[in-house]
Symmetry: C2
Amino acid sequence: MRLAELSERSGASTATIKYYLREGLLQPGRRISATQAEYGEEHLRRLRLVRALIQIGGVSVADAREVIAAAEDESLDHHLRLGAATRALPCAERPAEDDPAVATACRSVEALLERLGWSCDPGVDMLNPAHRRLIDSVAALVRLGYPCDTEQLLPYGRLAAQLAVTDLDMVEEQPTPAGQIEAAVALTVLYEPVLLSLRRMAHAEESARRF
Amino acid sequence: MRLAELSERSGASTATIKYYLREGLLQPGRRISATQAEYGEEHLRRLRLVRALIQIGGVSVADAREVIAAAEDESLDHHLRLGAATRALPCAERPAEDDPAVATACRSVEALLERLGWSCDPGVDMLNPAHRRLIDSVAALVRLGYPCDTEQLLPYGRLAAQLAVTDLDMVEEQPTPAGQIEAAVALTVLYEPVLLSLRRMAHAEESARRF
DNA sequence: CATGCTTGGATAGTGACACTGTCCGACAGT
DNA sequence: ACTGTCGGACAGTGTCACTATCCAAGCATG
């Protein structure tokens, strides 16, 4: 199909698709002449994934490029590529400061990981964006004076572990390795708004029940 | 204290504080002369909350203003003010389209709410941003061809219900109504990155266990 | 009192981001 | 040949969260 049809079927404007091509989020089409290019179903699929990551998942264009590059990097092993979304995506680049709230947060998180039995090498793991973001968030809560020690975090951690089982089950349902990797990226990112929305709706529900 | 001290104790630059004052995220200080103003501890506390909402919670300045205004609106009842964060915060302004994926998503979500026993008037509830965002997210997953019907959503919904109990317990620990409302806002928003980070870390953990 | 610093308010500017608009030289269909 | 569409290049747009600059009015020190 041509760019115009790709645009129509994906819902993205041709200008946006050209922009994604420029930014490397989409492979160029097969050149059919000096001024025409042809795109296939896999382009459409990728484009839809990119749109979903950016619009629904709130991923930046640069991060989306990183994620997709990692997911497609054949030189990485399956496990690493499955984690592409986790590693390349989320967070602010602030390393630990000498802030006492951050120190408290680090201790709480470390204790939490031990209680949960999660194996995070402390050396390597400071590189994990999710870990850094967790510490930043906990530090912010501490700074505001809200209880956010291991006791408060534990229920969240246990629920996260349950979610991970459900999520990986969904990934393993995919028949092909490539399908599993795409599913890992899509489900990791796109179930986040699902989860947050449900939590807020549950708040409203529980609050209505109590008051 | 003066603006400079407020800046030092909160970590925000004076320019940023002036910006927040302009935008109505912070009450003006008590005018002490034609060119000086004095701020109190409650200003510092509010400023820290605003910073956390914006930096950690990823809330926009405009949304933060809305949330704070609702939380402080004495004419609303306690229950409504508790829900300030839920209602004023998150989501894209897209109403339902005539997209078949959206229609499917609506059906799945409606069935989910019934299974969970959550009481959402369908008429009123389309106004709930969380509900709209949920539908948008599910629609995106449907569009990509991932299973996202009531069966897949149910575990998420049940876990969200459990989280809501924990969260409201934390809110109810606050002694004063005003404290409860601030806690509701802060905990609703700031536990979101905590939850998402933990989920990603749990993914890594579970994935390592399986592969 | 003069001097030089700081203060808070007003206003304009910045840089990042995700597009979007415009132009142009090929084609492709008739 | 004519007309419309195509893809590529590149400059421009709107939004957002600040940030830099000015300014006049204090205050602090000599």
